[in-house]
Every structure is written in structure tokens, then in C-alpha cells.
Symmetry: D2
Subunit: 389 residues, 4 copies
């Protein structure tokens, strides 16, 4: 019975980490939603709990007693198959349930889940669903970190908080990576018992050309050169949509950068500090990444080039913007039901990011993982890798 | 020294009442701002404190030590003469300072104010400023109540809370009040040592015609008749702006009214309960009040008719919409400096309400008081009185 | 039968003047709608014709044949009782019916109207309706002029056109006008057989205080002094709504003013020319008028003060902003049916202007006439008169 | 001298066709701009003329005299390198220059161009620029047709006009087309002296899987089945962005479809007529195309699958939505200067369409041509081809 015991431990370890991320927060920090992209931390804590209750406990535990009938309404997200959704922009108006109430909800569901994992026979389907749930919660752990950063980084007091993230990453010096023209296989081909998201399937062949990827990500110092060279004032470097975005929003620097008496500062979980020129640039949009690359007469990699080179790259500090639209692989198919809705729905208008970041949970990075956001989003730990040719 | 002692007591009593209003709140309830009109309760608590610190303590207490230099930025409001403002719509994104921090701020300022009031000589000018501060805090007490109601009344859990307000008011049966054609004097003429706002001055003569004001405010039951008669579907009853508002916002009933299986319910601080047909209708816009009056072939009173009849009316449960635009009286003048900015700035686009409501602080109602809001606002305790002729 | 003949002449003279206003237009100028407030000239020509067809001909001429069944849809305006409206903002998208088609429509209706007026017995009710129609068309003549000016004044070619308007008005020097405290009668009291709009009724008494109205309107030169003194940069002079308007729209001068190499130019029907400092300032919003007055430590008149002084004032060049909200007079009542909808509907959110302008049709000005627009509107020929006390 | 003579003929033939498209228009039809995507026809006629004047005549004809100095301001488009642009949304407010003036401009430039082409030595670079200009004008010819359709198809009179387009296309019955797994070369490989746009370069290899493309495009009748099956009401068929678009815009059918007493009608240049079930569905967004495909348990082709199969497909009636984002090919590079700005700027947020339509100019279709629009656009002649596997 070691396997089931391990599963319970794994479950509890993942669940506990969500709460570790929040250990430095004040109650008030859990509640607010400054922009639609950023969810209140208490919503993340409740939503991930609702996932376990709705998809694992309710269908599988006889006579399972729902913790609170209104929580499905409050903590549901995009899954249109499961009841009515709270509009994302409304989440920041909900003072109730309280943070304490959400923690009670977590404790209740964790106890029920522990008992269930300890005692119920776990079929292969159930195991897959549990793995999905763990990965879902881990995705929200990264969002918890980035959303908390947004909330605190837009507060005029710029509070420092204890957060299990090492944000500052100095660039080591790595050699460029060449890939040679030919056929490469893309997509998850790992242990069939391992986990991947549906969007990493099916493995398939692509034809790539000779390319050289930079061994290093762009640093803050290099990016400051772009700013000083008038990068944000010259439309020639920008995509049409990107230039419209720069002008409409008055963009002049990466997110969280503030110029104080001529010196660039940035907000991190340590508070507001001068930008380290040796650190890796972070919190840039794909528009900015693309403009920087054009200014350098280079370009961003495709997600296929990146994956083909991944084993030789030093990655994991910043999500790396590619120039690939987020689209289905050949043979992609969507699972039935609400759980299957997720990834396929978003295959329009989004850009793939590859790699992982300092905020990505351990064991949650792999070379085939496809992260995706609209090209104007900056609140994730995003960075820039250049390609020649 | 009795006078100064009394002033300290009066100060502390007003200040304490702001905290009494919040006694039933959870920490989370203090933080959110669901719409721009509604400020987070902790902002009200901080802003009123900032008023005392900025206008009383800082200019008058030698070597006064500001509690926190960033609080002026956070808790300032419309006074453009005092530093840069936080945009009102941003208030709901500020998790810091914490609620506990705001209460510390209040305690610090209250202690400083007590010492100041106990020991400093209070000139007539200072006394006037202190009275203004007390009235300012009382105005925010009413807003605290209405803003808390909005926050909780738009939460899907519809929580009940302990609140020092008796919301339900059954209508007593009062006779209509006639006023006769002739000259009436309007505006504050009370004790010169008493308090009034600048917008109640100067007293002046107006000529009124024969009019009959209803002795009673419109009840929920009467208003339900308007709804049943298709009042919200027929443009003929509505002002052009009102009809545009109805259509753009899909208005079908007063604020906080929800139809549950065909029965009108409304949110009060007791939670969600069926509407009492004998209660006074509440939370209607001036557009709705005007449309109801037209449906009845009557009209709303002017603020002058109301004031002329005030002594014979039974008022104080609902702010009564008039059909008077909020404009300066003859001889109106604005005080110098930031404090003087307030009332005159808003004499455009707003409608006068007269009377007072169940949320109005004691001793803060008088026949000459001019409340004012845009005609689409509904979150105050607003009601309807009709006029014939 | 002289009366009916005269009526036909009067009808044809008014109708012809609408076309005189358009004599300098190119076909293209009739079609566009740069902002929602400004209607395409061909719409004005069609709408006024639709009025005669719908309210006079169709109900009164046996077997009257409608010119085109779709024109009611295209040329109807705010009258919700008569079919479905074309949204005002859509008018500028309608290339058909053509301008030639609209002129054919006018010719058809004019012929039918002439025959009707020449032959039918005209009851008192019909006569009142015809007078309303003539005044309605005259109101649209003023709008035709101001809308054409907006269309051409926002075209980068700034074309000059032949227009029967003398825009430039130098200020004569007139003495201030005093009115003494007391009771005044306001509202139309003229010949009962004469014409007035419903909003000028009923005559009623008001009580006014001692006031002095300037004998002169503000000149361009005086207004330039306000601009030079930083009037548009200092919030202290502005109503809260006005300041928000200045900032949101980047307002820096009256409408049609353009600074060319440091010299203020303005567009008139003569093209783009330097501003004449002796001319009367024109195309200002009420917010600007109010700010100018505050800068001068004066104020705008109420509509009652203006009317009481009208006989002694030199007026008619500019619509004069008052500080009176557009509200019903005591005893105001609305006529039945679609025609009666008009004036009462707009008694919310608008400001009264008094007097008349260089664009106002002859015989269409009287001391009791109440024009009204929202306080941010500037495309009418609006000016500023100041009041002391 | 045959080559140059031919070039002049070719130039004049292309230019004349732009005017043939407009032969059925009234002057008014040239002026309006109902939505930002749709330009006024006179703008297209002026803009294409401005292209020749700015890029060919002005740099190459000694002492060339510009027709009108303000036209560059009025008729420039997205080329930020050439002066200040008129905002696209403002084009519909410009009544001047008149349509007649634009035709004079065309005649002037055509005469200058004829003389230039007849007499000047034409270098290879110049020839390439002339070919670009011809293709540019032809692209605008297709837009002229679709923009005119939008203008007339949103007019309540639904006017029929003479237009050189056969809109109705019945589906012939074609066999499905299989493509086999393997490497294919994509991109323009034709005569180096022939013309292609920069976005068709460079030719490169891609790896494709076994796929079967439908031999036929979806018909109106098939699409009506989708509507009847509740396709627009069921979120399961839709991309997340697509569903948001459906709800925000109340989409219920293809553009130009109107339900009249339960029967689907559509606007064509023949006026408003019942939808032909055998015709090819037209004017659908990529969201609709994708939803239709999901409802059929199929999918849209990639642009590479389409190009690989093109020789076996019957295409040219409808632009066929692919599921490929519009992105640069390997080796893509942008030409220097304003002319080079065009295609690369838009490689973000757009979807590739392949094939051509009934509105595409003769000789302007080729298997490598990449058309592109945002996925919500519907006013082009867009259709649906399905893919299995």
C-alpha cells in the first residue's frame, strides 16, 4: 500500500506549499484584485480546493457533504460546464467568504481527500485526475506568487514580504546553441505513467532550419541600453499591435520599474530597490521582447527551435517568450467534460512561452511544457532569449 | 474650562461612533471597493483621520509628528490643493495599510487631538474648523453605512451584520401639507454659533406657488404597483437621461431588490428577506422617483417647497429626491483654501436631496441641509415624496 | 382667404431658408457625422420634411401617399412614440437616400403642403401645429449651420463656404444693467395667438436680489488673457465636472481655435483666420464660461436675472450660458402624443442658454426663449455675460 | 520599347479597374465609414493614387509638382515613416476633398505616370516598385468591393448596385484531397521576375502529417443546420475568445444575414434576397469557421496543409480561414523604408487565409499568397473548408 500512502503525502505536500506561499501576507492582501488578470490570493486558495471537491470528492465519495453550497459559485472559474461563473473582474469585490473561512474550507477538503486517498482504490483514471489536480494547484501556486507581487508592487507603500522565491538571477555566461537543419520530434514522449498536459500531445515531427540560440537571457543592463537608445519612442522596432499598446498605455519600461531621480528601481519581494544591471530582465511583454530583438537585428525563437535546443540551454529562471502562436499540435484532442475544456479553449490569440521561472514549482518544469499568455501580459516572470538566422 | 472639556468629549464621541459602525465587519469587509462611488470602509476611517491631522494638528501643534508620511497620499480625497490624490477607483486595490494600521492611526490622532483640545486655546476660527471636521466625519459615517451595505449586499452570501441602523420604516399616516403662494425665506438662519455648511447660505427669499406635498413617503407596496404596471418598460414615464440609464443598465427594480421565484426580496443588514409592502421604498434613483411621480400624474417637490413645508412634514427616514439642481444660493461664497473647495465644486450635474435618513447621524439633520448626488445614484437611503400642483 | 395664403407663403419662406443655408455645400458635405451631436445636413433636411409629412399631411390629407415608406425609419429622431428610431450615431453611415433624393422628398412634401394650406380649412389646433412645425424647422436651421461648421471646421482643408451668417461681432460698449430686489414675472406672456414653446410656460413669479449684469459679452481678447493667465491649467477656477472635462479632453481653448506658430487662429465660414481680439468669444462650454467668471471673481447670471434684464440688454449675437439648470416652470405640462414629448424629456442634466445667436433665424428670438444644452457642448454660438453680486 | 509600352498599358488597365468597381456608386456612397475596418471608397481611390505619387513620381520625376500638398495628410495610411497619418476612424468624417476632386487627382497622376512609364528608363528596382504598386492597388480593389458591400449592406434601403462580382457560387462536387506524411516546400518559388509579397518568402521545408482536406467548401444550407442545432448558443463549440465575441456582439448568423419572418435573407449587390442553401457560406469569422468545424468533429486546415494540397483543390471563390497564425517564414526579412514596413508589422494577432475570392482581382491569386485578418473579421468573402485527422 506504499503507492497510496505516497500519493497522500504528495497531495499534502503540494497543498501545503500553496499556504507556504501566503505565509507572509496580511489578511487584507488576500482580498484585492487590482486588474482582471490578477486574482485575489484567497480566490486561488479557494478555487484549487473547489477543484478537488468538485472533480474528486463529490463524484467519488459516497454521501460526500459539500462544505458550503455557495462556494461553487464563488470559486468556480472558466469551466462553463460547471454552473454559473463569477465574472473574473468581480472576484476583487467579494469580502466574504473570509480568509479564515477559506482556510477552514481547505482543511476540510484536505481531511476528506486524505481519507479518500488513504482508503479508496485508485484506478488509473482517478490517478490521472489526481495528477491533473496536483498540476492544476501547482499552476495556481505560480499565479499566487505573481498575483501577490502585482498587488504589493502596485501599493504605494511597496511592502516587503517573506516569499519562497529567489527573484534575482545573475546571468552566467553560456555558449550559443546551434541547431542544424532537419527533422525534429516535438511534444511529450516521456514515461506514459508520467504527467503532461493535453496541449503537449501528440508528439510529431517538424522541420527546422539552421539556427543559433543565444546561450544567455537578456540582462537588465542590456535592456536599459534599449531604453536609452529610444526603444520605446521608435515605432520601427515594434509590431503594429505592440506599438498601439505602447502608446495606449504609456509604456516606458518593464513592469515594476520606476524611475526615481533618474535611477531605475524595481519592486521585488524585498521592496523597492535599484535595478541590478547584471540581473536577468523580467516582466516584459512579448511586444517588448520582440522589439528588443529587432533593435538587435535578431529575433525570438519559435517554440520548436526552443524545444529542439532545450537540452543544451540553461533555462528555468524566466519564462521565455517565443514567436509561436499557441495552437494545437497535430493529433491534439480534448478530453470530455469540464476538466477537458481547459487548454484547447485558449488556442487563439495567445503566445507560447517555454522554460519556467523562479516562481515555477519544483518538478513542474519540462522541455515540452507549453505556457501561454497574450502578448501584452507582463506580470509573469518573463524574459528574453535571442536567435540569429 | 468646561467648554474645552465638552469639545473633547464631543470629538471623542463622534470619533467613536465611526468605529461603532464598523463593529460587525470582518477585516476583509474593510478593503474592497465594488464600484467607484463606494469607498472601502478602511479608507473612510483613514480619510477622516487624515482630515484632523492635516487641517488641525499639523498647522496648530508645534513639532507635530506626522503618523506616516505616505498616508496623506493614500487617504487624501478630492482636495486638489493638498498633494496628489489617489484616484478614487484605485482605493479598492490597496491592501496596505492594514485595517489594524488604520486603527493605530486613529488612536494616535485621537490622542493628539484630545491633548490639543484639552490644552490649546480654541479661537473662533479653530472652533469653526473643528465643527467642520466633526460634520465631515459624520457625513462619512453615513457613507460608511451605505458603502458597507453595498459591499455586503452585492456579495452572493448576503451576510447579515450588526449595524446601528433601523432600516425598516413603516409609513405612518400623515396628512398632506399645503403651502400657500407667496414669499418664503430659504437657507440657514439658526444660531450663528451653530453649524451649517456653506451651501446653506446665504438666507434669501424665494417666491412659491400653491402646492400640496404628500404627508407620506411612497411605500414598497406602492412601488411594486409601478413595477407591475410596466413602469420600467414604458419610456413615456421617463426623462430622456433616465430612460437611457434604464436601458443601459437593465434596471428593473430598486437597488438591492432581487426577484426570487416571483417574490421581491431585498438585502438589508439582516440579510436577504422578502420586501415588506408597508415599508418605505428605498434605494431609488432620482430618475426612478421622477418616473414614479409621472406615472402618478404628480411630480417631485423643489427643494424650496420642501424647506417651506419642512416643519409640518414627518421626515428623516429617507433622503427625499427633489427636482432641484444643486446650485449656489444668491450670495454663496467659497472659503479660502482646501477646506473651502468642497461644496462649491460640485454645483454641476447634481440634484438636491432633503431631509435625512435612518443612516444619518444624530444631530446632523436640519431643515436647511442640502444633500446632493447625481440623479442615477441609488446607494444612499433615498425615497420618494410626491407633490400635486 | 388671405390668412391661408399668408400661411402658405410663410411655410414656403421657412422651407426655402433651410435650402439657402445649404447652397454652398458639396454633396459630400451633406453626408458625414463627425460626432454624435452633429447630424448630417441631409438628415436635417429629411427630418424636418418627415415632420410635416408625419404630423400634418398623413393625418389630415385624405388618401395621402407617403413619399417613401422607409424614410420614417431613416428620418425619425427622438420621438419614441413614432416607430423605431435610427440611433443618432448611425446617421453618418447612411449614404442613401441620396442628397438628390432628399431634395425630391422636400419638393414633394412642399407641393403637398402648399396644396393643403391653400385649400384645407385650418382649425386653431392645426394652426398651432403648423406654427410648431415652422419653429421646429427653424430650430433645425440653426443646427444646420452649427453642424455644417463642425463638419468643415474639422476638415484639414478648412474650406470656406457661402453661408448666410455674419459670424464676426465686435462688441459695442454698453452700460451695465442693474436689477433691483423684488418680485418678477417670468415666462411667455405675449399674444396668445403668438407662438412659444411649452417650456416657456406658465408665467410665474420669482424673487430676485440686487444684481448687476455686464452690458457687454466677453471678447476674444479678454478670453485670451484668461488663457495666458493659465486658466486651463488651474483647477481652482473649475467646477469638478468641468475640470474632469478639461483633463479628459485636453481642452486648451474654445472650439475651432488652433494655435499656429503662437498665434490663435479660428475657423469660420471664411476659412481659417487669426482670432480678432475685438470679436465676441464664441464656442465655449458652460464649464469654460463658469471658469472664466470665477477667474474674474464674478459669476454667470441665472436665467431669471437674464430675463428680468433682457429689455435693457443688447443681446442676440451669442447664446448666453446661464447658471440655471433646465427645469420645468411651475405649472408646466406636456402636450399629449409624440409632438408633446419633446421639451419635457430633456429637463435633466442640461443648462439654460438665453438670448440668441448670429445663427438664430429671424423672428425666432424672444426674451422668454429657453435654449438648453449639456454644459460641455460648444458647437453652438455660445458666449459669456458676467454678473456681479 | 514593347516592354515599357506594355507596362503603361498594364498600369492603366489596373487603374481603370478601380474606377470600374465604383461605376455604380452615388457620390454619397464614396464618403461614409460605418466602422473602422471599412474605409470610404474615395479614400481607397485617393490612397492608391497617393502611393504612386509619393513612391514613384516624387522621387523619380524631376521637378514633379505635387497635386495638392494636403493630400498626403489625408490619403496616407499606416506608413509611419511618411508624415503624420489621419486616424483610420476619422476617414469617414472628411467630406473634402470631394469625389470629383479625387478623380481629378487620379487623372493627374495617371497622366504623369503614363508619361513617366512611356519615357523614363525603368530599372529593375523601379520595375519591382511598380509591380508592388500594381499589387497594392489590386489589394485595395478587393477592399473597395468589400467596403462598398458593408456600406450598402448596412443601409436600411439595401440598395442594389452594378458591381463586377459574381457573388453567388454554387458548390460543385469535388473529391476530398489527401496529403501524405512527409516534407513539403512552402513559399513562393515561381519566376524570379514574377511578383510575390515579402511574406511569401523565403521558400522553406515543413513536415506535414497524413491529412484529408474536404474537396468542397461549406454551403449555406450546411451552415443553417449548424444554426438550427444551436451552434451559437452552445459554448462547447467555441474558442474562449470566440465565445466572448459571440456574447459581446450578439452574433447569431453570418454577416449580412437577416431573419425575416423566419427565413434567412442576405444582402448581396443584388439587394436583400433569400439565402440560397446551395451557395457557399460567406462572411463568417474564423471563430465561426472553427466552431462549425468542431461541431462537425473536424478542424480547419493549417496554411501549410492548404498550400501542399492547393493544386488538387478547387479554390478561388472564398478566402479560406486556416488555423495558422500569421507569422514570418524562416528567412523572412523586411525591405528598407516605408514600403517595406507593411507586411511584417502585422505579424501578431492575425490569422492566415488562403485561396482567393470572387472579389479578388484577376491574376492576383496564387497558391502561396497569404492573406491575413484578425479572427473576428467577417466583411471579406470568407468561407470554410474542413479537414479530417
Amino acid at each position: 500500500m506504499i503507492a497510496e500512502q505516497t500519493l497522500t503525502d504528495q497531495y499534502l505536500r503540494v497543498r501545503a506549499h500553496s499556504e507556504v506561499i501566503c505565509r507572509g501576507l496580511e489578511t487584507e492582501d488576500y482580498v484585492v484584485q487590482p486588474i482582471a488578470d490578477v486574482s485575489p490570493p484567497k480566490w486561488h486558495l479557494g478555487h484549487t480546493t473547489w477543484f478537488w471537491e468538485t472533480f474528486l470528492l463529490a463524484p467519488n465519495v459516497p454521501d460526500y457533504c459539500i462544505f458550503h453550497e455557495d462556494f461553487s459559485f464563488v470559486f468556480n472559474s472558466y469551466y462553463e460546464t460547471v454552473g454559473r461563473r463569477v465574472l473574473r473582474t468581480d472576484r476583487g469585490n467579494l469580502s466574504r467568504p473570509t480568509v479564515a473561512g477559506v482556510y477552514e474550507y481547505r482543511a476540510y477538503v484536505d481531511e476528506q481527500m486524505s481519507r479518500f486517498l488513504d482508503t479508496a482504490p485508485i484506478s488509473a483514471d482517478l490517478l490521472a485526475l489526481i495528477q491533473l489536480g496536483l498540476n492544476h494547484e501547482q499552476q495556481h501556486q505560480e499565479l499566487l506568487i505573481t498575483d501577490i507581487k502585482y498587488i504589493l508592487g502596485h501599493n504605494p507603500l511597496f511592502p516587503a514580504v517573506d516569499m519562497p522565491v529567489v527573484e534575482h538571477q545573475a546571468e552566467s555566461s553560456n555558449s550559443p546553441v546551434e541547431i542544424s537543419e532537419g527533422i525534429y520530434t516535438i511534444g511529450y514522449q516521456g514515461d506514459p505513467a508520467g504527467f503532461c498536459f493535453d496541449n503537449e500531445l501528440a508528439p510529431h515531427k517538424v522541420y527546422l532550419n539552421n539556427t543559433v540560440l543565444s546561450g544567455n537571457l537578456v540582462t537588465n543592463g542590456e535592456y536599459i541600453d534599449f531604453i536609452k537608445a529610444g526603444g520605446y519612442q521608435n515605432f520601427r522596432f515594434w509590431l503594429s499591435d505592440g506599438w498601439a499598446w505602447v502608446k495606449a498605455n504609456g509604456i516606458q519600461a518593464p513592469l515594476y520599474w520606476y524611475s526615481i531621480e533618474g535611477v531605475w528601481h524595481n519592486y521585488t519581494f524585498d521592496g523597492l530597490t535599484p535595478v541590478d544591471p547584471d540581473g536577468l530582465v523580467c516582466h516584459v511583454s512579448q511586444y517588448e521582447a520582440d522589439a528588443y530583438a529587432r533593435w538587435k537585428n535578431q529575433r525570438l525563437p519559435t517554440e520548436f527551435e526552443w524545444e529542439a535546443a532545450a537540452d543544451q540551454l540553461n533555462w528555468g529562471s524566466r519564462w521565455e517568450w517565443t514567436n509561436s502562436a499557441y495552437l494545437p499540435y497535430p493529433g491534439f484532442s480534448t478530453a470530455e467534460g469540464a476538466v477537458g475544456e481547459y487548454n484547447g479553449k485558449f488556442m487563439s490569440g495567445q503566445i507560447v512561452l517555454r522554460g519556467g521561472s523562479v516562481a515555477t514549482p519544483d518538478g513542474h518544469s519540462r522541455p515540452t511544457y507549453r505556457n501561454f499568455f497574450q502578448p501584452d501580459k507582463r506580470w509573469q516572470y518573463t524574459g528574453i532569449r535571442l536567435v540569429k538566422g
